[in-house]
């Protein structure tokens, strides 16, 4: 039942992430201002980037669905968005931990990544009630795709707007989100980002496999019942 490539992908993710963690704790130098706390950045920011990518990918897959009418695209879009929402919560959680560790508060408004994610997660949480309140499967897929496209277009706009707004109210050098990283930090960050991306793709494939198997099973079931 494993789709092709799933096992090697899983191994690649595991290895890359392990290497990344090792680099974080044994190779990357301590940050001058933030000290040890800055290490959170290697998990917080890659999660954010991959989640944002996931939302946009979900939008693109939704476009494919609407253009081709092939519902498997909608399934792919759904899983991508679903995973990105989970990652989004992770971003908020790790961001809050970072905020607490750095500035003593569990929330700060002058971190544009964190603030954009709050809005994005709030928006995408509505995906579930919207999707599951429509019973007709064809319509459900179509409306979900429309949402995925509108929300996917929204994500970059939102990020820009929040970034611009924060630059005004809280002028600060945005050094945390990697303005200019020294070599070792950059390498570590890139490896972490790669690991996170591989992980996302692995989990995406995994969930898709499970969903497809479940659907096939349902089909077989009804066929068996009819035949009986």
């Amino acid at each position: 039942m494993h789709s092709k490539g799933l096992v090697p992908l899983a191994w690649a993710s595991a290895v890359t992430l392990t290497v990344a963690f090792a680099l974080v704790f044994f190779y990357a130098p301590l940050d001058a201002d933030q000290g040890f706390v800055q290490k959170i950045f290697y998990v917080h920011v890659p999660m954010a980037i991959v989640a944002l990518g996931g939302f946009v990918a979900g939008g693109i897959m939704a476009i494919m669905h609407l253009r081709s009418g092939d519902r498997s695209w909608d399934m792919r879009s759904y899983v991508a968005i679903h995973l990105s929402i989970i990652l989004g919560f992770g971003v908020l959680a790790t961001g809050a931990i970072w905020a607490r560790a750095s500035w003593g508060h569990w929330w700060v408004w002058d971190e544009p990544v964190l603030v954009s994610f709050l809005v994005v997660v709030l928006l995408y949480c509505v995906y579930y009630p919207l999707r599951f309140s429509i019973e007709d499967p064809d319509r459900q897929a179509r409306y979900s795709s429309v949402f995925a496209i509108a929300a996917g277009a929204f994500v970059p706009l939102n990020f820009i707007a929040v970034r611009l707004a924060e630059a005004y109210t809280h002028p600060r050098v945005l050094s945390q989100t990697g303005g200019s990283l020294p070599g070792e930090m950059r390498l570590t960050f890139l490896v972490a980002l790669l690991g996170m991306t591989l992980l996302f793709v692995t989990l995406w494939k995994l969930e898709l496999t499970a969903k497809n198997a479940s659907m096939q099973l349902k089909k077989l079931r009804t066929r068996a019942r009819v035949a009986a």
């Binding site: 039942m1 963690f21 704790f25 044994f26 301590l30 000290g35 040890f36 706390v37 290490k39 959170i40 998990v43 917080h44 999660m47 989970i86 990652l87 919560f89 992770g90 959680a93 790790t94 931990i97 970072w98 607490r100 560790a101 992980l199 989990l203 995994l206 969930e207 499970a210 198997a213 479940s214 099973l217 077989l220 079931r221 068996a224």
Partner: protein
């Protein structure tokens, strides 16, 4: 050289990484359960088929 002081900062960093790993584990557990259920139901279907 390892940077693992288990002081104030260490708690938070550990917390963040634990969140991350926990998310993965919970997610994989859920999918694993789903796959197990599918496997079981295939078994049932196969058994019905044999009758």
């Amino acid at each position: 050289m390892p940077a693992l002081p288990l002081d104030e900062a260490g708690k938070y960093v550990a917390g963040a990484y634990v969140v991350f790993v926990a998310l993965i584990l919970v997610y994989v557990a859920i999918i694993g359960a789903k796959i197990a259920r599918i496997g079981r139901e295939i078994g049932e279907l196969a058994a019905e088929d044999d009758e």
